[in-house]
Symmetry: C2
């Protein structure tokens, strides 16, 4: 069995790989709130376990074995988030922190039981895909909200799960995955978005918009 720390490293490498390019020691360390030297140490250990590939000064990549474990942990995390949300009524801004601790600790049996209870779901409360038990991820197509133009309408597909303050803020506007809205105005010079959600006019700042993803984008007339 792996340590919790090792699992966190694998999970983080996976997520950083998803976002783009190479995962450097520094980026990984920053992501994990750890010093680069510490990341180097763990990378070495993971390399001897053949869970990552690593060439000095070149960055890390998950091996197939490493990716399997990363996806297993991510599956735990997202199933737990959805379970806590649906079964215990934990608010969506609280599920991440709780799942972060539980993900390392639950058995395969408990994973299977939550999965069944939830009806084999494919997305967590923030819209992130839940890998299936074979590690297959089905990510729905989506674009960052910051790519939207005035007059376009769309449906929220995903919101990043880490910041409770942001999540409470978005929740207060009903901005959950599945919610439709129309862009009324995009203020110039990287300014905020004014959007229409079910008739309500809401202003969403740039920083918040960067954490929101949408799909079903359609060009509509602004009235």
């Amino acid at each position: 069995m792996l340590t919790h720390a090792a699992e966190d490293y694998l999970k983080s490498i996976y997520k950083l790989q998803e976002k783009g390019g190479t995962v450097s020691t520094g980026i990984l360390a920053a992501y994990l709130n750890v010093k680069p030297a510490s990341a180097t140490g763990m990378i070495k250990k993971l390399k001897t376990m053949k869970l990552v590939s690593h060439e000095r000064y070149r960055g890390v990549t998950l091996t197939d074995a490493g990716r399997v474990i990363a996806l297993e942990i991510i599956r735990h995390h997202r199933l737990l988030e959805l379970y806590l949300f649906k079964a215990l009524g934990v608010p969506w801004d609280g599920v991440h922190e709780e799942a972060e601790k539980l993900e390392h600790v639950i058995s395969e049996d408990m994973e299977a039981r939550m999965d069944e209870f939830l009806g084999y779901p494919t997305a967590d409360p923030h819209g992130a895909p839940i890998p299936d038990k074979n590690g297959v991820v089905t990510q729905t197509e989506h674009i960052p909200m910051t790519d939207l133009q005035s007059g376009q309408s769309c449906v929220v597909s995903e919101v990043s799960d880490t910041d409770p303050v942001l999540l409470r803020h978005l929740g207060s506007f009903n901005l959950y995955p599945g919610t439709a809205f129309q862009v009324k105005e995009v203020a110039p010079f990287e300014g905020p978005f004014t959007i229409d959600i079910a008739g309500q006019q809401v202003v969403i700042g740039r920083e918040a918009a960067k954490h929101i993803y949408v799909n079903n984008v359609q060009d509509t007339e602004t009235t």
Copy 2:
């Protein structure tokens, strides 16, 4: 925050204190599957935190602060056992192991939500009392099954939760807390018990009987 290991020590000291007499380093170590020297080390640490009292070669006792933490962990454990049993259908011989890991990790919020979901229960699936959120334990009166005489009938009140094999065995006879049975025969020389559960004749060995507690004992006629 305490480490998981420290919490386990406090919990174990509490349980051993309950069972009777002084908790020696050796007994504590054996209970935790750890060498006496390791127990000495942890006891020292807990002493500096004022969670236990300890005089060299004299054994340990929980302080008030230590008992509060021990009961908090025991509450987590037993609430989790019952929650896993009722909400996720984990069999009663599996809940202990799972709860053992989760008890150190859940938040007070999750504790409260499970408590509410379960309707503020007072006993776990093995009949052990769940301390309330103020640390008040209401233990029902009960006696070990080994004290029963032929002809007596009673109701199972508690079964120790640690051994899955025993629990599956007892479960196969429906020997859960709340189940009534009558002692048909107690074989001489510390022999097994023959009991009647809902018309079924079942033989329970001494070793198993030591792990079973009963109440509502009544002298009845053997037919």
